[in-house]
Amino acid sequence: MVVEGSIETGQPPLIFLTRTQSYFAPTSISSIAATFISDAVVTIDDGTTVHLLDRLCSELIPDSLIDEVAAETGIDANILRSANICAWTKLDNSLLGVEGRTYRLRVETEGKTLTSTTTIPHGVALDSTWFKLANQRPNDDTLGFIWGRLSDPDTIGNAYRWFAQRVNQAADGGPKDSRHLAPLFSVFEDRYVNGLTFDFAYNRGNVAFSSADDDINEERGFFKVGDTVSVKFTSIGLREFRFFDSSPATCRRKAMFQQPLECAHQCRGRTGYLGRLRHAIQDGGLPAVIPITKAPMRAARFAAPL
């Protein structure tokens, strides 16, 4: 059993329950949909109240909102339309992420109980962000990376995760990226940079199994002059860092020499895995925007029917 849960500052939690598949099992939309669990009791204890999360299934979502839901959750719209995919969240906004608060997740399903605990750390904002050409190919004056400058607090144990979204228009009129995307190995900790101010860069992440042209051709992994990029720099816990640091090594697309690593799971009583409870800090209440071009478009937001 796989539990993928996230909670961000000012956002309600979002929990998905799935099952593992045999590695060589045939994959179709129906087989993927069958891995989602729809019958469970999910609760979160925020230290004062035990909140029973509401189950929200895709068959209740109007078709006009499916694409927004797909963009927010990362689940393909075709799967949402063709199968009843359920998630657990708090629809009345009575449970929102708060910095410094500890949350205890409990999942009861199929006779099993899974628990996990996490704390939203106090956020550390980036000092600045900018775009710089990569200069990796001769005469290439359009492709580059987003850089950031961070002053790490002088306390060991800080970890971070990087997201970025291209909010400028694509050919279909929507934003190039439907949500903030994290590239592989998007996390780091302060073991070697504790208390230091340093610059770093990240490549552009993409949707898994993307077939978009700029995720296949020479622009793969690069930001381009003309893009408007929204950066979301999050502070996460060390356990979440260990999970995200270990899982990308096992999920390369063409893993010819795939490392047999086990993801640093966090769930007790597991016959499956708990992903993580995620936390986010947004700089000044809005994501930091790198204007490589004009004013950004507002990204689509998930709206659940009440």
Binding site: I32, F209, Q258
Partner: protein
Amino acid sequence: MSAASAGTMARPSLTPPGQAVTIPVNRYFIEGQLVSDFTDRNGYRMAPYHRIDLSATRNGNETKEVKDPVTGAITQVKKRFVSGWTFGVYNAYNRRNPYYIYFDPSGNPAVGDFQIVAKQVSLFSILPSVTWNFKFDPARCMGRSTCLRCSLAARRRSRSISRSQNPKWWSRAALRPASRR
């Protein structure tokens, strides 16, 4: 050719069951990314490794006939330089022994054509080999008439013969005044 040695047959090499590896057995998705779930360390065995190697060796003559320039006798002396040929074949029945296994994903789960195929890499199929071996002894005379060592040895032999046949040479040397020795 008369002293050619018989060919040799290599014994088949048999090894224990296949090498232990750690492979994925389950998969799941996190944020749309495929994550592999592996067995316990070394929890899977690849196919056994075995092969048979065959070879035949033909060595050249190690001796040759040499006529003594002094006595005219023909003797067998060891050659200074000896060579031979070995013809062989590795993995005679062309078994594809596993070197490693990797997994090749393709397709897109959202489209429904995603699949993972396990592929085995083998290093060598049947592999013929030809080897030329040689050995030489730098200290051994090759028996030529121009060999300096042989001529010096022949001269020593002739002196020893003449000395033994003419003892007066020795006696004359013994009676030679000390000033002339």
